[in-house]
Symmetry: C2
Subunit: 317 residues, 2 copies
């Protein structure tokens, strides 16, 4: 266990540890999105990752970093989304028990995916307090190791391996962008970029409706999410005391974007690149549309975070 | 100009000729689709190809095979779909004029794409006779070279380069599958597979609603399309006298599939693989669902033909 803030070395170690269990995802370019943004874009397609999102990286790193004794007691987490599937997937690979606290409102397809990977589901209400109480009960009963979705050192280091692959394969990026929700991906991305491509600026993107990360970075203290609705529902979570210092030290800016720009960027990536991405993943491209000076003339790497979306309910109606 | 039936050598020559102008598309696997079909599947993702479909390969091969004198008079074709964009794209690369005869009913997004590549559009009614008369008038007026969508030797050889990459990268395939509409892709695929992977069986897939290719192969003569509606509207076209002999000699079987199976396969590829594919591209996977003995226990290569679909009108409503 790392009990301190993770470093670039932890990202490199994570890359070695998880290599057998995750895809080295492809990096795509798009002439038409380059024309629309004025930038030269490189898309790291984590929607093609195991479980359909970068979350497989952090969960595998956390699960495979456990000692035999720790692993034997299993792992637990709370999540209604991609992290739930990722922990279930990683625990299944190591043949250890996993318990996931999920809200009763979780989409049935995600519930089914978690079950298919062999995890046990414990239901909770949808308020944070409900799920935390349930999780505490699970931990007390089982002695399982808690894998936080975004504020765990191994999770952060694991998420950083996507950017490590990106900046290793594509040199001389001026900017590396990632969406920011709980902050695990952005912090890991920043560690990787600063360690391997120190000239690159790291920029986060989040919906203006839930601009807590942008305000947190500006004001130097963690703000809670606004609770406002956003199409990018994966981004409505708290920064944490492990990832926030990394973000403060290594991230140049967090840019906010409107809902329409997110939907427009998502649709363009679907139509022009033929890649299914979830709304959260569109936030960086939306930022380049809304802030055209940001990327113009630059080589920009973008982490496409995931592709888990209900194809029967699309935001363009 | 090749005036004879193309051969494996023509596919190899096409691969060298078009390499600067097309993507070497990635090949994907999917544990979940393997489980659902009982096969080990390798997906050649031509939806990620230039213009969003394999058609870029054949059009580039036809355009760049022209002599300087031929090229100077330009090229022309008729198509409401991917071939129209492909010819416009290829002609733009060679800086020669292109004229595309399109039905007035063509989707506006495809019309805009053809224009964006710099081609001239000539409108025609939607009946085959209408467009042929218009095309003849264009050819008579301009002296342009006609690039048939599926029955041109260079087009067939170019389309075969997708399968050539597939069977070169993934050895020991037992089966190589492609959808069949006009027959250019299936014929090219067969030439490549027989030349580079002679142990592989080549199998086409088409909607049962338009089973003209299957009946043509069974009965040894070209049947016209039934004209029935199908969700895989890209597959409602005639086989031709150049591609049919290749199919007769090198294709083991053409399997027909129901509309529901096509939509189900398309949706699964979207959801599980995060790849946008058009309905026609789903026909081979639909065939593996409807004919479970076909692929079970086998290594199967599949050409995912394209990803040009209206994301606001999806077949699952």
């Amino acid at each position: 266990m790392v009990d301190v803030i993770p470093s670039f070395d932890d990202v490199r170690q994570a890359a070695r540890r998880i290599a057998p269990y995750v895809h080295r995802t492809p990096i795509f370019t798009s002439r038409s999105l380059d024309e629309l943004t004025g930038a030269t874009l490189y898309f790291k397609a984590e929607n093609l990752q195991k479980v359909g999102a970068f979350k497989a990286r952090g969960a595998c790193n956390a699960v495979f970093a456990l000692s035999e004794a720790e692993a034997a007691r299993g792992v637990a987490t709370h999540s209604s989304g991609n992290h739930a599937q990722a922990v279930a997937y990683a625990a299944g690979l190591r043949h250890i028990p996993a318990t996931v606290v999920m809200p009763e409102s979780a989409p049935p397809v995600k519930v089914a995916a978690v079950r298919d990977y062999g995890a046990e589901i414990v239901w909770a209400g949808s308020r944070p307090l409900d799920r935390e109480r349930k999780l505490e009960a699970v931990l007390a009963e089982t002695g399982a190791h808690f894998i936080h979705p975004s504020n765990d050192p191994h999770v952060i280091a694991g998420q950083g391996t996507a950017a490590l692959e990106l900046v290793t394969e594509i040199p001389d990026l001026a900017i590396v962008m990632a969406p920011v929700g709980g902050g695990g991906l952005l912090a890991g991305t920043a560690l990787a970029a600063v360690g391997r491509a120190p000239a690159a600026r790291v920029i986060g993107a989040e919906p203006a409706a839930v601009d807590d990360a942008a305000r947190s970075l500006q004001e130097g203290r963690i703000h809670p999410p606004t609770g406002a609705p956003t199409v990018a529902d994966g981004l409505c979570t708290f920064l944490g005391d492990v990832n926030f210092p990394i973000i403060q030290e290594n991230v140049s800016d967090i840019v906010t974007v409107g809902e329409e720009a997110i939907v427009e960027a998502m649709r363009l990536i679907w139509e022009r690149m033929k890649l299914l991405i979830e709304p959260s993943s569109a936030a960086p491209v939306a930022a380049l549309f809304e802030h055209p000076d940001l990327g113009r003339g630059q080589r920009v790497g973008i982490i496409i975070s995931g592709g888990n979306v209900d194809v029967t309910h699309l935001p363009w109606g």
